[in-house]
Every structure is written in C-alpha cells, then in structure tokens.
Symmetry: D2
Subunit: 379 residues, 4 copies
C-alpha cells in the first residue's frame, strides 16, 4: 500500500456519487503513487451530507466548504458543486495549498475561469496541482482516438462533427432543476454538454477552435417547480459552427431534446488519411477508417478493450466492457499520478478556460445574429 | 400495355444512365398509365451520343437539344445536363408544351429558378407538367419517414440534423471535373449534396426553412486538369444552421471530404413524441423511436421492404433489398402517374425554387461572416 | 451491339420476374459477348403466360416447355419452375444442345441431380454450357469474401456459421403454397434456404462439407388452402452441424419462423488470420477482421461499392447501393461470358449436386436421431 | 448502515478480483439488508494471497480453505477456484452452515453437481443459502429479455440461437493454462462458455433443454508450457443442437477461436409474437421485435439504462453505460437480499445441476457420433 492522501469532496449529488466511487476504488485497479483516503464530505445540509457520507464511504462531514478546505487531513479538494461556486472554492483551496480537481464547466464566466487559470498557474509553481474533470477524455476509445491522430494516421484534419444528445427535457412537464437556472448553472445544454464536446474535439484533434458562429434555443420557457412553475433561464439547445487553427471545419450541437438519444456524445473526425467516429452509447468502441486499407477499407469497429489500449489493461479481459464511472476512476488515477510525480495533470485549468472562451463566444455570436466570433486568445 | 409516351433525354452521363434505366423498366414493375418510349437522346458529341443511345436503349439521337425539344415524338423532356443549361432547356420545353423532368439543383441561380417556377406554373394551366428530380424523396424509408411525421407519430419537430457526406475529393490530386467549376455547376457540395438534404428535410418535416447561418470552405484550390491544373471555383464543403417555420432548429453539412463516407446522406429528426433517423448507406432501413413504446422503447430498425411500405410492393419479397437506381424508377413512375392523371407532380419547380433560395441564403450568409439570413419568400 | 442469343424461360413467378429483369438489362451495364433476346416465355396457362410475357418483355409464349426447348430461336433455356421439373427440362434441353441456367436447388433428389450433373458433363464436351442459379455468389460482398479467403488473408478456416432466417411462416394461418408440398418443392426451408447457405459456405471457404448431423422441424402441420386446410409435408426449419474437409467446424440453420428476420442470409467465417461476416439484410457490406491490424484491429464494415470490388464497377459511384435483383444480372452476365468464351460457368451442375448431397445427408441424419452422416462423394 | 455479514472468498484470480469489487461496493449502490465485510481471502500461496488481499481489500488471509470455512467471522463462502475443487469446498461450507456462492460451472461432473444440489437442498432447510454464479443473468438486458418473455410479449418460443465466441486461443502459440487441463477445468469452451449460454437460454425462455446432439473439437493439441509443451485435454470448441420441452429448437456454439470476437455471448430468441437478440459486446442493449408494431415494426435497439429497467435504477442516468463487473455487483446484491429475506436465491445449485446435465449430454453425444441424447432428469 502506498502513502495515503486525504481527499475532501464538496457536493454529493450525481457527480459526488461517481467521484466517491473513483476515490474508493482507484488503487484496487491502478498502481497509483498515493492511496486516497476519503477524509471528508462537504454538504450544506448536515443530515443529507451525513447520509451521503455513510453511503459513499466518507469518514467525516463538513457543512461549510471553507472548513473542509482548511482541514489538515485534506490534501485534495474535489469540487462537485454547481458551476456558480467553482471559482470561489478553487481559489481558496489553491491558496491553501490544496490540489484541486474541479468539475466542468470550469466556471460560469470567462472572468472566473481566467482567475482560476491564473491561480492554478501560480499554485503550480508551489507544487500544487489542479485539473478540470473532463472525464470523456478518459474513455479508452477517446484516448485511442487522440493517439491515432497524434501518430498521424488520420492525416490533416478537415472536418470535426460533434453532437451531445440527451432527451430528458423532451417532456415539457419535466420538473425544474438547478441545471435550468442561469445563476447556478451558467448556461444550459451549452455548458453542460457543449463543454464536453468542445474539450473532446480539441483533445482528439490536438487543435484549437479559433472562431464560431452559433445560435441557441429555449423550447420550453417554464417548468413545474413545487406547486408552481419556474422560468427556465438557460438554453435548451445550442448549435454552432467552428473553425480550428489548422483550417478544419467543425459543427457542434448540444441538446436535451433529442428524443431517444440518452447520452449520445458523438464525435467524428475526417482527415486526409483516415477518419474516426465515436458514440458514447457504444462507449467501448471506436470506429476508424484508414485510406491505405485499400479495397478492404471500411470503418473498423475497434472494441477498445485490449490490454494495450489506453487504461484498459487495469480492468478485465478483452470484450469484458467497462462503463461510465470508469472514466472517473481513470481521471482520478491520472490526477494521483501527476501529484505523485510532481507534474501538472491535463486537462489543467488553462484547458478549462479555453473551453470557456469557446462557449462564451457561442453565446456572444448567438446574441448577434450568429455573426462569426473569434476566440480572444485561443491558447 | 398502356399508351406510349415519347421521352427525349438531354445528357447521358451518370444521371443519363440512371434515368435511362428508369424509363426502360418502370412499366415492368409499376402500373403506370403511360408506357415510356425511349425516343431520342440528346448529346453534343454525335459519336458519344450514339454510343450512349445504343448502350442505354434510345431509338434516336440529337446533337442539338433544341431539335430534341421540337420533335413530334417527344412528349417528355428529361434534363440531365449540368445546372447551367437547366433553365434554358426547361423554359423552351415548357413553351413547346412538353412535360419536363429536370435534375437538381433546379438551376444555378435563384433568378433562373424563379423564371422556371413561373413558367411551370403557367404551363400547368395548359396541362403541361414539370417535376424536379429530388430522387431521395423516393427512397421508401424517406417516404415512410414523411408518412410517420404526417401522421403525428413524431409530434412537433424540435431538431433536424442532416449531413450529406462523400469523400471523392479527399485526395488533393483527384482530377478536375465540371462539378468543380462555378460557371457550370453553380456551386459545389452545397448545390450538389446540400440541395438533397434541404429538400429531404423540408419534405420529411413538411416544414420550411425560414433562415440560415452558414459558412463554406474550399480545401483544395486547384486540381489536375489534363497536363496542367485548373482552379476550383466552388465550395468543397458547406455547413449551416437553420430554423424552420415551426421553430425547429436544424444543422446541415455537405462535403466531399469525409473520408470513408461514400454516400452518407443522413437525416435525423427529433420531435416531442418520437424521432427518426436515416442513412443512405443503409438505404433500406429507417430508424424510428416512439416515446410511447415505454420501457421497451428503442430505435426500431425498420427494414422498409414490406408490401405495405411506400413503393416496395412493386418489387420483391420482404428483406430482398433494393438499391440506388430504384429511386429513379419510383420518380419516373410518379411522374407518369401525374401526367396520366392530369395532376401536378411533386416536387414541382416551386419546390426546387424553395431549395434554391435556401442555398442562396447560405452563400449570402457565408459571404457576410455567417450573419443570419432570412429566406425571402419561404413558400 | 454484340450478337444476339435467344433465351427461353420456363416459369414466370418470383424467379421468372427477376430473371426477366436480368435478361432485359444485363447488356446495358456489362460488356457481355452476347446480347440476350427475350424470345419465349413458357407457362402452362396461356393467358397468365401472355400477361407475364407482356409485363416482362418476352416476345412469344409457349404452354408446353417441350415446345419451348425445341424452338430454333432459343439457344438458352432458363428453368424457373419448382424443383420437381428441373431434371426433366434440363435433361431435354441439354440433349437438344441448349445452354441451361437452372434455379436452385438443382433437383428434388440426389438421383435427379446426379443425372443432371452427368448430362451437363457430357453436354460440355459438345460446347453446351450449364449453370445452377446460386445467385448469392454474385453478391459483391460474398464474392469479395471468397477473394479474401483465396488470397489467404483469413488464414486457415476454423469456424463457419451460417443461418438463413425468414419469417413468412411465423403466422400459423399463413396460407398453403407449393413451397410447402414435398412432391413439388422436395423439402422446405432446407432446400429453399439451406441450399443457399451450403453453397455460399463452400464457395467462400473454397472447401467442401464432408459430414453432417442434423435435425428438422415442422412447427405448423397444416395450413389454410382455399376453403379447407392442406397438410404441410416439408420442414419448417432445419439445423445442422457440419465438418469441412479442412477440419473446419460449421453450424447451419434455415428457418421461415425467425420473426423479424426478413431475409437474413448470414455467413461468418473465422480463420487463423482473420474473420469475415455477412448479412444479406445489409447486402452491400462485408465485415472483415484482420489480426495483423494490431491495436487498431476491429471488424471493418466494408461498403462493397467501389469500382474495384467484384461486379460493382458496372454500376454506380461508391456508396450508391445495389439490391437483390442485381445478383441475377451478375449471374446472367457471368453465364453469357462463359458461353461466349467457350468455358464452363461456375457453379455448374456438379456444384449443385454437391449441395444436394449435403442436404440429403442432413435429412438422412435427421431421420436417424441426428447420427453423424458422411457425404458420399464430397467432390 | 445495515448489519454486517462476513465473507470468505477462496481464489483470487480473475473471478476473485471481480467478486472482490462486488463485495466491496454493493452496499454503496443497492439497499441490501446486510453489509458485506471482506473478512478473509483464501489462497494456497501465502505471499500471493496477502498481496491480493491488500490489493482487493480483504482483512485477513488463509492458505487452507478448510480454515477459512471454519472461521467464525465468515458467514458466506465465495468459491472462485477452478471447477475441480468446487464440490469439496461447497459441501464443507454448507455442512458448516455457511451460505455459499459458487462460480460456474457448478462442478466438473454431474455426480459432483448432484451431491452439491442435494446438499444445498438440505442446507436450505436449515436456512443456509446457496447460489451458482451465472452472472450473465444479471446483465440488465438479459433480465429484461426474461421479463418480456415471461409477460408473453414474445409468444411461444420456436427458436433459440446462442453462441459464445472468444478468440484468445486463435494463436496456436498462446500459452498453456489450467483452463485447458481436463483434470482442473472439467472441459474447455463447453464448460467455461457453453455453461453460460445454456443457463441464459433456459433463464430467458423459462424453458428447459430436453435433448441434444453435439460435437466438439480441439484444434490445437499442445501448447507452450514453461520450457516445453503441454497437451491440451479439453475441447477448444463445442457445437450442439437442442430441443426444449416446449418444442423450441436451439443451436449452441462455444469457442475460443472466433478471431475478432472478444466476448460475444449472444442469444437470439424467436417466438410467435416477437423476437429478442442480445450480444454482450453491446451489453447495455437489447434488440426486440414485436409483430404487433405493424408497418413500423423493426428490431428495437433498447438501451437498457432506464431507472425502471432491471438493476439500472441503482446506477447512473439513462445512457450512462455500465460494464462487465456490474453483473457481479447485481449478483451479490441478489444473494444478500435472499439471505436477509430468508429465501432461496436463484439460480440455485439445482439450476447449476441442470446446466451440468446438458453439458454432460453434449459430451456424451459427441462421443457417440452426435447421436441425439436426452437429458436424464431435465428438472
């Protein structure tokens, strides 16, 4: 057993549950340099936080995140709250010398994200690490896609086609949630789903988006909330076109109204030598086409479950699939490895900021009749 | 055997070959009120036209399309030439009282298309019929999709997602062709491929596009042409966002650079009660999702090969697939039925004009930093 | 235009319709050395035969197949009747010096098939050609599969897995047909569907079945027939295990009760270097796995629509699919090419006999508690 | 937190790893009446057992399974050893009043399985529970399949088609393992893979196999083992035909030589009203066809990830897939629920015995020229 490292996690809803699973199990599968200790769970309601701590295996509870950050038994702060509190918690944690894992989107505004990226850069000089939780990078198929692009097997990229389709708002009477309030969530499908596909597209291509033209829509303007109805103040769907610094052309769509598509995070890349396609609803597969396969060329359905595929060697024999939560175990493994190795993990807050700038440009464009909008500093 | 009707076809390249097959065989499978007689083939080069006439089964040849239009044994003029000659031939044929089937896109400019639509409207008062050859409407799966939407099984449409992906220009050294010259083709992927998905989207949804924001790209600026190189003067790829009169949101992409996608004309529609998805590379299938299927809901892979499916009753037993050229046989069957029944076939030139206006708006938007551009008269 | 060759076709039901289409169109797409003339259609009922001749384009009609065989304007006899008449017609035609194309299964008994194969062998010495109509060999994907095996890309074959699934008898009240009468059809699913997969398996592997163990079932013993019910005297389904001369192990299943499977003629082959999989319901695709593809190995979905794929060069651009009847056009093209070239076409009657022996061994095994039954002369 | 129950697990290879994960996490997701305590891990080599205990989270280690069974802190004995030791350990544990979870196949011989089933039946009268670990029953899609059959939505079953395809022995130089030694493993693909599909087929249909005809093959007779080679004494592949008590016809195949198929445990069921199809390589999906879907009928691709689908409510939102090890978590949850509720879990040892009898009949048939062999007591 390696040295332990104490984790304090703020928030215990969906993301809290899945992060807990990762912290609890990562060292059972990966040779991480540090073994996480589930020290303390942060939640504003003491009773609910205690129940969650028991269920998920956390040793203690704090109702004030500041107290959590301040604890000596916490070396990592894991932020699983809505986006409106990310900046405040992350800045405090980094200042206190705690490594920070922060859920995506990094923040609700570019200004917050810039402050966080600056703080992260400064903290890194003190050996304090930070990472933004774009877990889809840790899908083995997505990681393999990036590898194939990096090896040049796809050639120069010409097209990127990304959609993230869900359907849980299709029903106009689906209830109100914090995800539909701008003050908490920052945006709707754009920030929640669009952030993932923007990051994945930039990650897989190794390229950056330089400009966008977008439009957004709110199909259902109010929803049931308790006895009454509450106004929806975010987008239900967002679509945009993009150009990458290489000259590649991209299309993006994020929606919660694609009936029958449950979690269809899809990415297709077409290059001069090959193409790649991915759909999270078949997350253990990557489709790949290589032009030099000649008369027997065709999209290969690669089952990304071999020992030499990214991450999969830690799990089961080929063909014994893994699921959604594994991406978080991979994420935490990478984070612990970076901390233990004294290196900055990826994606860092700077990467989160880049995504934020793209999302912000989409909103800006949408507000200006879809006028083409460049990304201030695409770095 | 029913009465014969003489056909004169102008052009004998790809479209000419497939139209010939349809004219030759339609009455063997469909109970059409008129039996086509392959009277005359038009082609500027006498030798090549004669060879084509022999190969495809045409009785005579004319090297001047005006002579073809003027012949007494021609009651239908079928226009299979590049877009720059559509208007001239169609106007002459309609004026001469000949029924006209015209390949898509209807014309190279909105002005030409307007003139054609006006002429077609006038000709109809004289019992002269005209149709634009959007053959994908005649894919049984696409026709079934429209039927399901019309029956209300998809509910109100919220999203349309259409791409038409080919890859024959991926190789930068692929040779020059008339399809890459603006003066002949009007536009590139936009008019060739985009026209099909715009028409299919409007046909399946029964709705019209009211505005767009688009951008286009020419990845390879010049191509081998004989001993030298010629400049490519059309778009290689076009992407655009659209809104429909119902409020639905659409994304469209047409490209010839999607390596590995050979003829991936795809359409997905998401509504409040269900969803539909189609891919021409599996053209005998329609995917359909119905929310009221409950816990056993899932995208149904409907093999559209039953006797009670659109058009299929004319062919083989279930599961015995049909192919690309069948869509033209269906098209010709519908055209003959309309002529015989004294009714206007669909899609008429007015429908072709509507598509032209959308394509024109995309180009206009692309030239203005993707600014949102409304469709003048969406009717 | 090449020299004409007169065709007389006996039978005008399903197979007659699709053969007619092939004879009518083959020279429009393939450079065949002889152009078929649709000389005469044979059918016992004069009125129905005349109607069919008009519909399908035949110049004359005979109600006695003997008269058809005897005509001077007939050089090819195409047998599209039920299996009970194949032997008699074929023997007469070959004796009369007419080339013979015979629908499958070659005959209703091994004895008949032996006589036919012997007659064909003798006729070949006189330049008279014969072929059995295993049209699935002419699916481009199946032909490509054989090519890949022959090139050694699959290595040594270890497993063959073949099913042919239809569902048109699932309903116990589906009406009686000649296909369910032993005296006409010889057998049920076994001869109708099983014959195809036995031939396809032997064709693709280039190997022969040496022994089988089988069982058959008749789920529904009588069916509506006019005002009453008629007894079903053939199998509804047949399953069998097989060994090939190479040592490969095979499983086969033919049924008309696989609800939802419309024409699922499937074949999978696993070898020491690769695997192949095919499903007629996606007939333009071949799945192929090559072990030496390394970490990016996966089943390739090859769209078998390239100019350099078998047969496809005669048709449309890549991705523009073909359908069921094209396999007959290919068959007729190959037959005409063999006749014109003075060579024996494949599959010949000897191949049909081999299939017949396998089917017969399955029935023998089924009658003996599935005891393993060797194929007399597997050649 | 509920009362704890001590678990002793014998064996710590592949199955040990995955069972450990289930015991460690089950109560984090399921409301089980008892919380497992990972009390002791059994392994013959003390060092390796200790390493495994540390890695997987077990509190103590025993090198003699008898000592493990005897411990007071062990109430459940989980048997993850090769099949040759199942009977001995299970009988001792049941005699000692310990609940037993036993990996499949239940035993290496019918005689052992009979003794185990008898002991389990007797133990149940004392409140001691036993279960055999057919984890594929706990794939949500498989459980949903059974539910649909039980509800009558498939009608009467006519066909069962089951294969379990792997490829890890395709390479003739893949090394020797205990799984290829008859004295340890009992049989090869038949017991390892065939057991799963026999159980799944009987579970989903709710029906029992009454007779079989089979054949087996060992493609590679010896394999590298240390510096030399060892003889393979089990089957590499087994195929068999089967009949169910309802009259349904089945085909089964188990192999480790299907190159490119990594863990393709597939099951298809055709009934009079519908059909079902499953492939573990897409384990979150069930395909279902319902005849009464009419003209829009097609195989539905049901993503079995809804809250009201079997087991899935314990996990993530729809479309957020689960993987292989989840089936073991479900298994352990069901086992704990049965123990806590004082009920016999399913599948019990009697179910394991039924599967064993089928496998034994296959071997018997294979040894007698595939003669049809009835299952002694199919109950």
């Amino acid at each position: 057993m390696t040295d332990e490292i104490g984790v304090g996690m703020v928030g215990h809803a969906f993301m809290g549950a899945v992060h807990s699973h990762a912290w609890r199990n990562v060292h059972r599968f990966f040779d991480v340099p540090l073994t996480p200790r589930l020290a303390v769970l942060g939640g504003r309601d003491a009773t609910r936080a205690k129940d969650a701590a028991t269920k998920y295996g956390w040793a203690a509870v704090e109702t004030d995140w500041r107290a959590l950050v301040a604890r000596d038994d916490v070396q990592i702060v894991d932020i699983c709250t809505p986006g409106d509190t990310h900046a405040e918690i992350a800045l405090a944690a980094l200042a206190a010398g705690k490594h920070v894992l922060c859920e995506k989107p990094l923040a609700n505004t570019v200004a917050e994200a810039e402050a966080m990226a600056a703080a992260a850069e400064e903290a890194a000089t003190r050996g304090v690490r930070s990472m933004v939780a774009f877990n889809y990078r840790r899908v083995p198929a997505i990681a393999l896609a990036r590898k194939l692009v990096a090896e040049g097997r796809i050639g120069d990229i010409r097209h990127v086609r990304a959609v993230y389709l869900q359907d849980w708002l299709s029903d106009p009477e689906a209830p109100m949630t914090w995800r539909l309030r701008r003050e908490l969530a920052g945006s709707g499908a754009l920030g929640d789903l669009g952030a993932h596909i923007v990051d994945a597209a930039q990650y897989v291509t190794g390229d950056l988006i330089t400009g966008v033209s977008g439009t957004t829509e709110t199909f259902v303007r109010s929803r049931p909330d308790g006895d009454g109805r509450a106004e929806v103040t975010v987008d239900d769907a967002a679509v945009f076109m993009a150009r990458f610094s290489s000259g590649a052309l991209g299309t993006f769509e994020a929606t919660r109204y694609a009936l029958g598509r449950k979690n269809a995070m899809r990415l297709e890349v077409n290059g001069t030598r090959g193409s790649l396609a991915f759909d999270f609803e078949a997350m253990n597969e990557l489709s790949a086409y290589f032009e030099d396969d000649g008369p027997a060329a065709g999209f290969r359905r690669i089952l990304v479950t071999e020992p030499d595929h990214p991450y999969f060697g830690a799990w089961w024999p080929p063909g014994h699939l893994i699921g959604y939560e594994h991406t978080f175990t991979h994420e935490v493994a990478d984070f612990l490895t970076a901390i233990g190795g004294g290196e900055d993990p990826a994606p860092g807050f700077a990467d989160g900021l880049r995504v934020q700038r793209v999302l912000s440009a989409v909103e800006e464009s949408a507000g200006q009749q879809s006028a083409w909008t460049t990304i201030g500093d695409p770095r």
